[in-house]
């Protein structure tokens, strides 16, 4: 296995008395697609947010491409390499789709307006909504908004993409479009960490599935192994719940 691009070592994170992440260690290799599943409140999203320091960790280490995020000289440089897609899209409502995608390119990557717009249009075309460049987020459907959000993250040319339940706020008919974009990304070799219960995506794209409960990793394996022969009792319980819904 090559040098991991994400290394999480004994990470703890609490909110007051609630222990959200308890002694979690894991590694992600470049180009790997890892999906984290588990019951709600298991700490999946918190763990994901610890990777780009949106939640500062209490103890342990998170190393991104050889740089520890807790003592990185400039956390913003590290974050620029990690794209993140949120459950509720979090597009900037006062900017058009195109402006949403050019903003960080200009102020973080220091690209000029023309270059940023060219890249933004490429990314919009890639997620399949090139014609929506001039729309404000409020004029777009949920699925379109999420695709703009993915384009916004991709335009930074990140090495890693984090997806925090990207389809759980979408109407059923919108989900496929977003998952297709994610599948394409996975096939292109993007390193992805995804919190999602879309089993279709897990089977089609995941190299590895991690099951979390009560802040800890219970089990991790390839999707085939995990779905056919889970080792832990809690994994079996959880899988039977989500697979028979």
């Amino acid at each position: 296995m090559s040098e991991p691009i994400i290394a999480i070592e004994n990470v703890y994170k609490s909110f007051g008395h609630v222990k959200a992440v308890v002694d979690v260690s894991m590694e992600v290799a470049p180009g790997e697609v890892v999906v984290i599943i588990g019951p709600s409140g298991a700490g999946k999203s918190t763990l994901l947010r610890c990777i780009n320091n949106l939640e500062p960790i209490d103890s342990g280490r998170v190393i991104i491409d050889g740089v520890s995020i807790t003592d990185a000289p400039d956390i913003n440089e590290v974050r620029a390499e990690i794209g993140m897609v949120f459950q509720l899209f979090n597009l900037f409502p006062h900017l058009t789709a195109l402006e949403n995608i050019t903003l960080a390119q200009r102020v973080v990557r220091r690209r000029d307006q023309e270059e940023a717009e060219t890249i933004a249009r490429e990314q919009l075309a890639k997620v399949g909504i090139a014609e929506k460049w001039d729309s404000y987020p409020s004029q777009l459907s949920g699925g379109q908004q999420q695709r703009v959000a993915i384009a916004r993250a991709l335009a930074m040319y990140p090495k890693i993409m984090l997806f925090d339940e990207p389809t759980s706020a979408l109407d059923p008919e919108m989900i496929k479009g977003v998952l297709d974009v994610m599948l394409d990304l996975a096939r292109e070799g993007m390193t992805m960490v995804v919190v999602s219960h879309e089993m279709g995506f897990v089977r089609a794209a995941a190299d590895r599935v991690i099951i979390m409960d009560n802040g800890s990793i219970i089990e991790e394996d390839t999707p085939e192994e995990l779905f056919t022969a889970p080792k832990e009792e809690r994994t079996k319980q959880f899988l039977s719940q989500i697979l028979h819904q």
Partner: protein, 278 residues
């Protein structure tokens, strides 16, 4: 020529409209006149304004009062606009300090807000005029002299800066947390995210209270008369004490303030409409 063309055009539109109206009537579903959407207050105010304006402008006495207080009107506007501009900047800076995690900056701005909000503006202006100004003059050997307008402007700006600090704070805090997170996840610094993502949204949201304070400030500028500045109110009082025509004198002052505030509130509405997010 332009007039003629315009007129013909308008007549044409009028005819088209009439035909459309007739059509609706014939079909028996005429649109009701949207009574609730007519800005009644504007109509009533306009009628009253025209009556008062007519009687004022045809009255030699009122014209004399207006000419007398004109200089005061100019000073009132000048002090209001400059003070408001400074207060906007002061409020923004302290507002940003109110939302940081830095305990020192937070404490400083909270102290500022609580003190300035708790002291009447009249007292602040008196302080600026009769305490701070002489002290500064003595301490600097006369090089810094705030006597007069600068003292008044600073007093108003410091006081309203405290109110605006709270307005900015509430605006910033009303923006969903996800906005800051999205901006930071893209690699923007805290200040970049503030400037490009949070503030543009927050300021749109706080335009109504900002406009409110602008109008309140125009009226409160009448307090600067206490440090002997010849503003609108002061000139009105001067006129009354000279002529004993209190009725006409204060009518004129009240009317001029009203005209100014109505004008400002119209301005605020226009700005709000222009900056609304589609």
């Amino acid at each position: 020529m332009g007039l003629g063309g315009n007129w013909a055009n308008r007549t044409y539109h009028w005819e088209v409209n009439m035909i459309a109206e007739a059509e609706k009537l014939r079909r028996g579903r005429a649109l009701p006149i949207p009574w609730e959407r007519i800005p009644w207050w504007v109509i009533i105010l306009s009628i009253v304004g025209i009556i008062i304006g007519w009687s004022v402008l045809t009255s030699e006495t009122y014209l004399r009062v207006i000419r007398f207080v004109m200089g005061g009107l100019k000073l009132t506007l000048q002090v209001t606009f400059i003070s408001y501009a400074i207060a906007l900047v002061v409020g923004l800076i302290f507002g940003l300090m109110r939302v940081t995690k830095n305990p020192i900056l937070y404490a400083v701005s909270t102290l500022y807000v609580e003190v300035m909000r708790g002291v009447p503006l009249l007292v602040i202006i008196l302080y600026m005029g009769y305490v701070i100004t002489p002290m500064l003059r003595d301490a600097t050997g006369g090089r810094i002299d705030l006597q007069g307008i600068p003292a008044a402007v600073l007093g108003m700006a410091i006081c309203y800066g405290a109110y605006l600090t709270e307005v900015y704070r509430s605006g910033i805090q009303s923006i969903e947390r996800g906005q800051m997170e999205a901006a930071r996840s893209l690699g923007m610094s805290y200040l970049q995210a503030m400037r490009h993502v949070i503030l543009p949204q927050a300021i749109r949201r706080i335009l109504p209270p900002l406009g409110n304070d602008f109008i309140a400030m125009l009226k409160d500028s009448s307090l600067i008369a206490v440090i002997a500045l010849p503003d609108l109110l002061q000139m009105g009082r001067l006129y009354v004490s000279r002529t004993f025509r209190a009725f006409e004198g204060y009518n004129t002052v009240a009317l001029l303030y009203l005209v100014l505030t109505l004008f400002l509130s119209l301005l605020v509405r226009i700005v709000e409409r222009r900056t609304a997010i589609e």
